[in-house]
């Protein structure tokens, strides 16, 4: 599939849309504005990077579109459904089937083996144990850990744990994958492997991938970039435009 064809296709369909999204944290009567009215659109099948300095509201924005946090005002629409209107049970459904999460800290469940970690979301979705087991093994093989399905997180390296986390996030075949600084805790080589897997998922399975990141290698593989600064969108750019300005980006960071 050619680059342009893919982009034109993805432009047709918005999977996540934010409308005037605001988030204000109130602590001891001091108000901190984390997001000051953000409008954005994220298209199906694209690889999106969200970049910005620490304290820019990047993480808040990221959590908001994942349904992990509720906005003070404004709306988050996932597949044209307003997240704020969902009940607790529907939210659980959304997190279970529609979105996969990958964290900087991996967040694997310590007392479960790799396979159990991967099959747990399937159990929540009501999949039969045998089926869950088969799919879990498939996913582990996809991330290259088929041999180590019986190992606990404590027996694995950081990169391996992150790969298990990717397999787990894909458990119920979600359409969106949210990655919160997936490579920040890893060395250069291992980070590259993780990025390759993510790129593969995006290209082969058409999964929408949203990454909050500081990692400049992300510029090579993402389709689009959003810079956030002081609670609002500073700049949105396609990759081909960014490569020219790479110098200034490095200067900014």
């Amino acid at each position: 599939m050619g680059q342009e064809a893919r982009e034109s296709q993805s432009l047709e369909r918005v999977i996540i849309r934010t409308v005037n999204l605001r988030k204000v944290y109130t602590q001891k009567k001091v108000e901190t504005i984390a997001l000051a009215g953000v409008d954005s659109e994220i298209y199906q099948g694209e690889f999106l990077s969200i970049m910005g300095p620490s304290g820019s509201g990047k993480s808040t924005f990221f959590n908001m579109i994942g349904g992990l946090d509720s906005p003070t005002s404004g709306r988050v629409m996932i597949d044209e459904v307003d997240v704020a209107q969902l009940t607790a049970i529907e939210l659980a459904f959304l997190r279970c089937r529609k979105i996969g999460y990958i964290f900087q800290q991996y967040n694997l469940i310590q007392y479960m083996t790799a396979l159990e970690n991967v099959t747990t979301p399937m159990t929540f979705a009501g999949l039969a144990p045998d089926e869950a087991r088969n799919r879990g093994m498939e996913l582990l093989e996809l991330v290259g850990l088929g041999e180590r399905w019986a190992h606990r997180p404590i027996e694995m390296s950081g990169g391996q744990q992150q790969r298990v986390a990717i397999a787990r996030s894909m458990a119920n075949l979600p359409s969106v994958l949210l990655c919160d600084e997936p490579t920040a805790n890893l060395d250069f080589q291992t980070g590259q492997e993780i990025l390759d897997i993510l790129k593969g998922l995006n290209q082969e399975r058409g999964v929408t991938i949203i990454c909050a990141t500081h990692d400049h290698r992300m510029l090579d593989i993402c389709d689009r970039l959003i810079w956030i600064r002081d609670g609002s969108i500073d700049r949105i750019a396609r990759r081909d435009e960014v490569e020219i300005n790479l110098g200034s980006v490095g200067g900014e960071g």
Binding site: L94, R97, Y101, N107, A125
Partner: protein, 492 residues
């Protein structure tokens, strides 16, 4: 155009949830065991308290009835030969509902109508309780409250209204003295007392008169000996004097008195020099530690009884006709009596059952306080185990777990710990209370150990432990489950 259909998230089966819980417990086995330990200690303590109270109450009830039977003879001898004063009459009268014949006798002695009898006895019981209460005070307090009078006269003194008011006034001054029952009840008691007092005086007069009529018979022979003889003339004399006794009862008392009389004779024979020497040697006692009780204890066996009979026939100055089995039986009765008496003395606190589950008030307070302390301990242990797993809860929520599933996981974990703690705790508590009762009451306790009640307490403690632990886990885990996943992660 909605991109996905929102169906209800399928609820997880309990088996799968149990699997999750079990894996989690196994991973944190040490912490789980600590929680179990706290629950175990709490349950063991409560079960021990409950069962100890139960055991001593049962022992007391049984021993009191048996002791009453064993003391039949001494009751009868003192009844027909010992002059009584008002306090003794009051005490006997208050307890006269135990035997029908005694009640009738009192009705005759006191010239009371049978209809009035229960009312008067009720007053007598209240009066007795009041006097016991006063007697339990320190001398200084009692003296100030009721003057120098003691016993039944206290109530005569207080029946005068001025004295009563003064009494109530003075009671208020002592912070340590707490009267049970209301002032009205006390006033009613004082008002009804003169009537009862008159009845008791009449009983005393007539009773003493009856005894006076019998006394000439006891100049040559002790009352026990007279009873042991069991002659027809003596029975007639007792009846003529005004005591109520039927032929069957007389026969029974007489048989028992025979044994008693023989016992008295034998106990006297222990002290004869030749026999004392023989006994000391045989029982390996030094002369100065020679005690009748210890001799009786050793003479319970057939061989010892046989041996003593031979010595007795050889040395005794005054001889009665008896067989070795008689000696054995008397020895057994004597030992039994002193054991029962000891048990009654040891369980005197079981009388008071005003608190929870028939425990005394002091014990109930102890029970409640200890349960509260343990409750706080358990809640804290569970709170800790929830708090340190916030990240895990948040992760599970990100993976699509329902709030209720997370609640279930923690409640189930706590309940499992509660069941284990409950079982182990009630076993420990039950065994210790059993051992304690066995140590202090011995065979008296074994013959009617409350096994069924123990089983009930076990079951209740186990279920209660699980239920309470589960309940204690509800609040912290509900709080954790309700948090948005991100907040939960941020807390850690």
């Amino acid at each position: 155009m909605p991109g996905f259909e929102l169906r209800e998230q399928p609820k997880m089966g309990l088996t799968k949830l149990f699997d999750l819980t079990w894996t989690a417990i196994r991973y944190r086995l040490f912490r789980a065991l600590m929680t179990v330990l706290v629950i175990t200690v709490a349950v063991a303590f409560a079960v021990n308290l409950l069962l100890s109270g139960l055991n001593s109450r049962i022992v007391r009830n049984n021993t009191e009835t048996e002791l009453f039977e064993l003391k039949t003879v001494s009751r009868w001898t003192s009844r027909i030969s010992q002059t009584v004063d008002k306090d003794v009459v009051l005490r006997e009268f208050a307890k006269s509902d135990l035997e029908e014949a005694r009640a009738e006798e009192f009705i005759q002695f006191g010239l009371i109508s049978p209809d009035e009898y229960p009312k008067l006895r009720q007053v007598a019981q209240e009066a007795l309780a009041f006097i016991d209460f006063l007697n339990s005070l320190e001398y200084k307090e009692r003296r100030e409250l009721a003057g120098p009078v003691v016993g039944a006269s206290i109530l005569d003194h207080l029946a005068i209204p001025e004295n009563r008011l003064k009494f109530l006034d003075t009671v208020g001054k002592f912070p340590t003295v707490r009267m049970e029952g209301s002032e009205e009840k006390f006033a009613a008691l004082c008002q009804r007392w003169p009537e009862t007092s008159r009845a008791i005086d009449a009983i005393k007069e007539n009773w003493n008169a009856s005894i006076a009529r019998l006394l000439p018979l006891f100049v040559r022979q002790a009352p026990v000996e007279k009873l042991a003889e069991g002659s027809r003339e003596f029975l007639d004399a007792i009846r003529k004097a005004g005591f109520l006794i039927d032929d069957l009862e007389f026969q029974r008392v007489s048989d028992l008195a025979k044994m008693e009389w023989l016992g008295i004779h034998l106990e006297a024979s222990f002290a004869e020099p030749a026999l004392k020497q023989a006994l000391s040697r045989r029982l390996n006692m030094l002369p100065f530690e020679f005690e009748a009780d210890r001799v009786w204890k050793r003479l319970q066996s057939a061989s010892s009884a046989e041996w003593y009979r031979a010595r007795y026939l050889e040395h005794a100055r005054e001889r009665m006709d008896w067989e070795a089995e008689d000696l054995q039986e008397i020895a057994q009765r004597r030992v039994r009596e002193s054991r029962l008496q000891a048990a009654v003395n040891a369980t005197s606190d079981a009388e008071d059952s005003a608190g929870l589950f028939g425990l005394s008030i002091k014990m109930s307070v102890l029970l409640i306080v200890s349960l509260m302390v343990c409750g706080v301990g358990i809640t804290n242990a569970l709170l800790m185990s929830v708090t340190e797993r916030y990240r895990e809860i948040a992760t599970l929520k990100c993976l699509g777990a329902l709030d209720i599933s997370i609640l279930w996981i923690f409640v189930m974990e706590a309940s499992l710990q509660g069941v284990v703690g409950g079982i182990v705790g009630s076993l420990i508590g039950g065994l210790t209370s059993f051992a304690m009762a066995l140590l202090s009451f011995g065979s008296i306790f074994l013959q009617d150990a409350p096994l069924l009640s123990m089983l009930q307490v076990f079951i209740v403690a186990t279920i209660g432990g699980a239920f309470l632990a589960g309940a204690a886990a509800i609040y912290p885990s509900w709080k954790a489950a309700r948090l948005a996943p991100l907040e939960a992660m941020r807390i850690e």
